[in-house]
């Protein structure tokens, strides 16, 4: 946090190297979030770039009251909302199948002893879960991605999404319940 602030102060004084350091530090987190908010990998990369361009242009307005992490995710979330408004017809319903199948080939199963059946099941579960995430309503998806995948605390999510803490908790519960229902054929009884 302190190191972030130092970088921000330097970036605010037009130090491009400091901004570069910020990008290197956060680009993976931001991309990992956006890539599950939009169906196309190329769009996700474009939106991640746009997030950092906007951050660069408005770095002087950044206030130390929010963390840099929260600020960047707020920009990214707003861009995803704009994107989904523009692509209302297809957002959340289509998946970039070619991109996903490429990624499936590279996916590693962290805890599997070599058991082809289990590997197959985990692959299938992972693919089902990715699809289920894309089909979640945007509000629920945002919260579950920020909490369960990015590991942000409730209060930061409330600040990013602009809703009360209780709403974050209920959206998280609803998102998890919807995902469980979608995956229930694959889950243990």
């Amino acid at each position: 946090m302190h190191a972030d602030l130092t970088l921000v102060r330097r970036a605010q004084a037009n130090d491009r190297a400091a901004f570069n350091e910020i990008v290197l530090r956060y680009k993976s987190k931001v991309y990992n979030f956006i890539a599950r908010m939009v169906p196309s990998a190329q769009d996700a990369e474009d939106l991640t770039q746009e997030t950092f361009v906007r951050a660069y242009l408005s770095i002087r307005s950044f206030q130390s009251r929010a963390s840099l992490n929260t600020w960047l995710f707020r920009i990214a979330t707003n861009l995803c909302i704009d994107y989904s408004r523009k692509n209302k017809k297809t957002a959340g319903l289509t998946t970039s199948l070619s991109a996903d199948s490429d990624e499936d080939d590279e996916r590693e199963i962290p805890d599997a002893v070599y058991d082809p059946q289990r590997i197959l099941l985990n692959k299938e579960l992972g693919a089902q879960l990715e699809q289920a995430l894309l089909e979640l309503p945007e509000k629920l998806r945002t919260v579950v991605l920020l909490y369960d995948i990015e590991g942000l605390p409730y209060d930061e999510i409330a600040s990013i999404v602009g809703v009360p803490l209780g709403t974050v908790k209920s959206r998280l519960f609803n998102a998890r319940t919807a995902l469980r229902q979608r995956l229930s054929p694959y889950l243990v009884a």
Partner: protein, 192 residues
């Protein structure tokens, strides 16, 4: 299966409210005890809890995705383009846009003591530098200087007219009028 999970027995509602906290290890010891006791007695909620636990675990194991190898190069190209456009774009509008932010930052609660001290010192210095002034002098009633400056040439002119050999009676009347407005003696002398 899902119909069974939707069944609600006594205590299912409160138990399901605790489920999120249970999954995130945020329950107190007492809440955990209440939930575990319910789960031991309610197969539907126990199954729900197991499946929710598994779902959350799967979510947290999802592969992390990363940007392409060209991301940084593309980003820097865009930032260069933005910077090239920046002098025209940034100077007036950005400065105006930044004003509220700078003002709000000044109002940051942590800076109030420093801001207050600064204002107090400024007020004190202004008070000391202020010139000491006595009572404001009341202006005396000034003589009608403009009136005199008009009357004197007029009298001179009228006197000249009165001295005209043609002896204009209108000039005599004018002279009488000037005499009424304060210069009568002069006019009479001129007439004589």
């Amino acid at each position: 299966m899902s119909t069974r999970l939707n069944e609600n027995g006594p205590g299912c509602g409160p138990a399901r409210e605790l489920l999120n906290g249970f999954l995130d290890n945020r329950l107190s010891a007492r809440q955990t005890w209440v939930l575990e006791k319910h789960l031991a007695d309610c197969p539907a909620c126990a199954q729900l809890a197991r499946q929710m636990e598994q779902t959350v675990s799967l979510l947290r194991q999802l592969d992390r995705r990363d940007t392409s190898d060209f991301f940084m190069a593309n980003l820097h190209a865009r930032l260069d383009a933005e910077e090239a456009a920046s002098p025209a774009r940034r100077s007036p509008i950005a400065a105006i846009r930044e004003w509220p932010t700078l003002f709000l930052e000044t109002l940051d609660a942590r800076r109030w003591p420093a801001v207050g001290l600064g204002l107090a010192l400024t007020a004190l210095v202004a008070l000391l530098l202020m010139p000491q002034q006595g009572p404001v002098p009341v202006p005396e009633t000034q003589p009608a200087a403009p009136q005199a400056s008009i009357n004197q040439p007029l009298r001179r002119n009228v006197a000249l007219s009165a001295a005209n050999p043609l002896d204009d009676p209108a000039a005599a009347n004018l002279l009488a009028n000037v005499g009424e407005s304060g210069g009568a003696t002069d006019a009479e002398q001129t007439q004589d």
